[in-house]
């Protein structure tokens, strides 16, 4: 079953691996990648806790609207769970 998510549109300072062009955009979970140490903490020498990482697929239309080069082409990106809001049922992240 397709799982849809929306990337949080927050703009925190520091080392962040969620590209700005995808913030606020809706995509589909392409696959779960497992848990990794959070680069937002690793960048400052803290190991911290691991976070779940997902590959999320976005359509060009979703990202660029009417300016999309080809609406059905896609961008897949790796996004950490703490940057995602799940649509529909509650998701334990």
């Amino acid at each position: 079953m397709a799982e849809f998510v929306r990337v949080k549109s927050m703009m925190p300072p520091g080392h962040v691996r969620t590209p700005a062009y995808l913030r606020g955009k809706r995509g589909q979970i392409e696959r779960a990648l497992g848990s990794f140490f959070n680069p937002e903490q690793l960048a400052y020498g803290h190991k911290g806790e691991t976070r779940d990482l997902y590959r999320v697929r976005f359509t060009m239309t979703e990202i660029w609207g009417d300016k999309a080069e080809n609406p059905d082409d896609t961008v897949d990106a790796e996004i950490y769970a703490h940057w995602l809001d799940w649509e529909g049922e509650n998701h334990a992240s």
């Binding site: 969620t18 590209p19 062009y21 990482l53 896609t74 961008v75 950490y80």
Partner: protein, 211 residues
């Protein structure tokens, strides 16, 4: 315009790098010298590691691609876990986590790292300079088809382009489609058709007669 800035060969003289070293260059030298001074590393070990990285080349990835073209169970393992499949072939790729994405008659894949320069270095060696430019990094997700046309690849509208932005812990390799007319080629000959750009997605494998 005077021509005294040209060498006798007609090329401009390259300026010497006389500018002061940067903060991070100073940091690298300081850390390296401390590690050597305190006996954690030797200068020879540092040089050997640089040699090991320089020895990695797109030929490693090409061998993996060619194996996938001739060995269906290997291809299945590659698409399931590309790092494990590469290690199975004997490549020392360290902690690399690798995903292989397959080009088909309907899908073309393109790899980029919009945030910096993530690249499967442990398998393919260092990325080309253009891969790290702002122009490639920003345009690959904005207008991939226009970028591909500049690389000489004009994709039909009914083919889907999937761009993969290496934003976190994974690295990517494109598994290109096996070119037509290669039925008689063995694995080594097939590997020679696989270019670096074919594995980034900015190109296709060579045609057999052109190799």
């Amino acid at each position: 315009m005077p021509h005294d800035h040209l060498s006798p060969s007609g090329h401009p003289f390259r300026a010497d790098n006389d500018e002061p070293i940067t903060y991070w260059q100073t940091m690298e030298i300081a850390v390296r010298e401390l590690l050597i001074e305190k006996g954690h590393l030797t200068a020879a070990e540092v040089a050997a590691q640089i040699d090991a990285m320089d020895a990695r080349s797109p030929a490693n990835g090409a061998a993996v691609v060619a194996r996938a073209w001739v060995d269906a169970p290997f291809k299945a393992r590659l698409l399931d876990d590309a790092a494990a499949a590469s290690r199975e072939m004997g490549f020392d790729i360290g902690p690399l986590k690798l995903i292989a994405v397959e080009n088909t008659a309907r899908t073309h894949n393109l790899i980029v790292c919009t945030l910096c320069s993530c690249y499967p270095r442990n398998l393919l060696g260092l990325p080309p300079d253009w891969y790290k430019t702002r122009a490639y990094r920003s345009r690959a997700v904005r207008e991939p088809r226009a970028v591909l046309r500049e690389f000489g690849l004009d994709l039909p509208a009914d083919m889907t382009v999937r761009v993969h932005d290496s934003t976190a812990d994974m690295r990517y390799i494109v598994l290109p489609a096996r070119p037509a007319g290669t039925e008689d080629l063995d694995e080594a000959a097939l590997a020679r058709l696989v270019t670096r750009d074919a594995m980034i997605g900015t190109g296709l494998p060579r045609a057999p007669h052109a190799a």
